[in-house]
């Protein structure tokens, strides 16, 4: 390690290594806040540059490349790490904490990676950590979802690995850097596909709404922040101005809100909405101007804060009420008022309401796209903004906290640990601070020269957002009886992936079963016959030879014992007589025998 650089993942990895061995049931939890605090310190003090260059198997690896783009992601990852750990401090399961620590460490590793080998290793570390964050919810559906999640990410990882290796073969370099669209080769597309799996680009997104609603209450808070945003970072790093990403991002933005409007489970609504929000970032990267890359970075920062807060709010409801299904909730606003307030701060942030941070980040991407004459992209993102407010800003909180009911005083609610409020409070304060003082966010954007061209608090921007959201609210008011959620599973692209899984299973298992049948017959005729013949011979040998010897020995021992019993009669004259016979026998043996 270079003296003036501290890798933000270091403390996370160290604590993950020692945590399983720490004694006691509670005291070790105080240590959990140390890694994010160290990471925050590192994120604010590390200077741009290349650090931790090592040689591995003849390859030069750059474990840390820090520039404004990786810097802003490091910073928000560190802040979110602190909020997530505060939110999860009450959890006694060390496994969940270790998984979260490794997962966050992987996130830092990815955004700082200067080469594809480091990137891939950290990518997989995140995949493993997050799989456990789903699995450790310890329900049947969580365990099944975690295996599917791992399969999706393994396939995505293999795309990435194939692309990396083919790229190395062609270029002789593992360096991570921008790829020009017009000079793209098939291996670049493989890398792009690997990134797009983690970015939840439609139709590769199905893992996200499958797994995130099934993770632990606290695990999903971590997951909603890191996997997709790491992918956004690497897309911004390697694939800026790829027009296909502008299209894909717009499709994601709209697709996510359509499903979010349909779903019943609060955490699945939020999961679909990650797809939509990441769509804004992917579109910004695809448009590829300084303003839209800034917009994507700013939106990633703001999104991590408010989406983490949304998952905390929905998680707190799930923790307290025992369900996150909207049709089973309602009437809770007065029962858990501060959860509702924190959730609403996040809901208004994600909707782009003035005063909240989504307002200062979302419009940067939309305006940037419009100024780059990507009118359809900008229009799609505005449509998604309406859907966002209707689904996550109104539908979810309305049916979770109100639902047209009076306060449900009878419902049994589990007390919410105070640390969960600390986590939520921290993010809520940051969402408002960034909204009111955008410079807190803008000063860290990668292209400072483009920041001055955007004024979020211009009167027209405020009025436009207010009108758009206000009248979207009116639409919700008019359609509240239509949008009422019901229990249902809505088919998505995972139907195809499950079908592919079943086909692959059949393709592998049927020939295997066929070969197995033939082998069984062959074995019955040849193998089993010879085995049985050998067994019969062994039995015969055992019975006639082994048993004969053993039986003979037994007979002998029994005879000797019987004779001893006869001879040991307690009469002295008999013993003397026997001794005499024995002595004569020995004398005869020596006299005649020798």
């Amino acid at each position: 390690m270079t003296s003036n650089f501290l890798h933000p993942s270091l403390a996370f990895l160290m604590l993950a290594a020692v945590l399983p061995f720490l004694p006691g049931s509670r005291r070790w939890r105080a240590l959990l806040v140390i890694p994010p605090l160290v990471a925050i310190w590192a994120a604010f003090t590390n200077q741009p540059g290349d650090y931790m260059a090592i040689s591995w198997l003849g390859q030069g690896l750059a474990l840390a490349h820090l520039d404004p783009l990786s810097g802003i992601f490091c910073q928000v990852f560190a802040v979110m790490g602190l909020a997530g750990i505060l939110f999860s401090l009450h959890v006694e399961d060390k496994g969940q904490h270790v998984a979260a620590l490794l997962y966050v460490a992987g996130g830092f590793g990815c955004v700082l990676a200067g080469d594809f080998i480091t990137l891939f290793a950290c990518w997989e570390l995140m995949s493993i950590g997050s799989t456990f964050l789903v699995m450790l919810n310890r329900t049947r559906e969580s365990v099944l979802a975690s295996f599917r999640y791992f399969l999706y990410h393994t396939v995505g990882g293999l795309f990435l690995l194939a692309g990396i290796l083919l790229r190395y073969k062609a270029t002789g370099s593992f360096e991570v850097g921008p790829i020009v669209p017009s000079q793209a080769n098939p291996y670049d597309w493989l890398i792009l596909a690997g990134f797009c799996v983690n970015a939840a680009v439609v139709p590769l997104h199905a893992w996200l709404p499958d797994a995130y609603p099934r993770g632990t209450v606290t695990g999903s808070v971590f997951m909603c922040a890191y996997t997709t945003k790491t992918a956004v970072y690497v897309l911004a790093r390697c694939f800026p101005a790829w027009e296909i990403l502008a299209i894909a991002g717009t499709v994601m933005a709209v697709y996510g809100v359509l499903y979010a409007s349909m779903e019943n489970n609060a955490r699945r609504i939020l999961s679909y909405h990650i797809v939509s929000q990441v769509g804004y970032m992917v579109a910004g990267i695809g448009v590829g101007t300084a303003m839209t890359i800034n917009g994507a970075s700013a939106h990633a920062y703001a999104h991590i804060l408010y989406k983490g807060l949304l998952f905390m709010g929905a998680g707190a409801v799930l923790y307290s009420a025992g369900t996150a299904k909207l049709d089973e909730l309602g009437g809770l606003a007065a029962r858990i008022p501060w959860v509702m307030v924190c959730y609403m701060v996040a809901a208004l942030s994600i909707s782009g309401m003035p005063i909240f941070n989504g307002f200062v980040s979302k419009n940067m991407t939309i305006q940037g796209a419009a100024e780059a004459h990507q009118t359809l992209v900008a229009l799609g993102l505005e449509i998604a903004a309406v859907g966002t407010f209707v689904s996550v800003g109104l539908k979810l909180p309305y049916f979770a906290f109100w639902g047209g009911k009076r306060t449900d005083w009878k419902r049994e609610l589990k007390p919410i640990p105070v640390n969960m409020y600390f986590g939520m409070g921290l993010l809520a304060i940051l969402c408002v601070l960034q909204g009111v003082f955008p410079q807190i966010l803008y000063r860290y954007l990668p292209y400072q020269e483009a920041v001055s061209g955007f004024h979020p608090w211009a009167p027209w921007n405020v009025l436009q957002a207010s009108m758009l959201l206000g009248f979207s609210g009116l639409a919700f008011y008019l359609m509240r009886n239509v949008i009422t959620p019901h229990k249902a599973l809505n088919l998505d692209f995972d139907w195809f992936y499950r079908l592919i899984g079943r086909i692959l299973y059949t393709v592998v298992s049927r020939p295997a079963a066929f070969v197995d049948d033939i082998w069984t017959n062959v074995w019955n005729w040849l193998g089993l016959g010879s085995l049985m013949g050998t067994a019969r011979g062994t039995v015969l040998f055992d019975r006639k030879v082994i048993d004969g010897i053993v039986d003979g020995s037994a007979h002998g021992v029994r005879g000797v014992g019987y004779l001893s019993a006869i001879l040991q009669n307690g009469r002295l004259q008999s013993y003397l007589g026997l001794l005499t016979i024995l002595a004569l026998g020995i004398f005869a043996f020596f006299w005649y025998g020798l």
């Binding site: 559906e141 419009a370 309406v386 639409a475 359609m479 599973l489 809505n490």
Partner: protein, 95 residues
């Protein structure tokens, strides 16, 4: 957070509970409609100097956009798309 009677509930929870009185609900609704009216009227004064979509140069474009897109989106999603793709909750046998 154990069960508490509405009469004894103070603080933010009590305040929120009292907003569910029918008269308060009507007042909030009126306030909401008034806010919408004010926003729409402000559009006559504060205008879009840099329209990007053509029609957005006219006043009331964004109120209409929000309302129409919201209503149409909810209708299409809930009445057209969801009936086609809706299945029982345990369709995949995961639960």
């Amino acid at each position: 957070m154990t069960e508490e009677s509405p009469e004894r509930k103070g603080g933010l929870g009590g305040l929120l509970d009292r907003q569910l009185e029918p008269s308060r609900v009507r007042a909030w609704r009126t306030l909401f409609f008034l806010a919408l009216l004010v926003a729409a009227l402000l559009n006559l004064v504060v205008k879009n100097e840099h329209p990007h979509f053509g029609l957005d140069k006219y006043p009331f474009f964004w109120p209409a956009f929000g309302l129409v897109v919201g209503v149409v989106m909810v209708f299409i999603v809930k009445k057209v798309i969801q009936p086609l793709i809706k299945r029982p909750e345990d369709y995949y046998g995961d639960l």
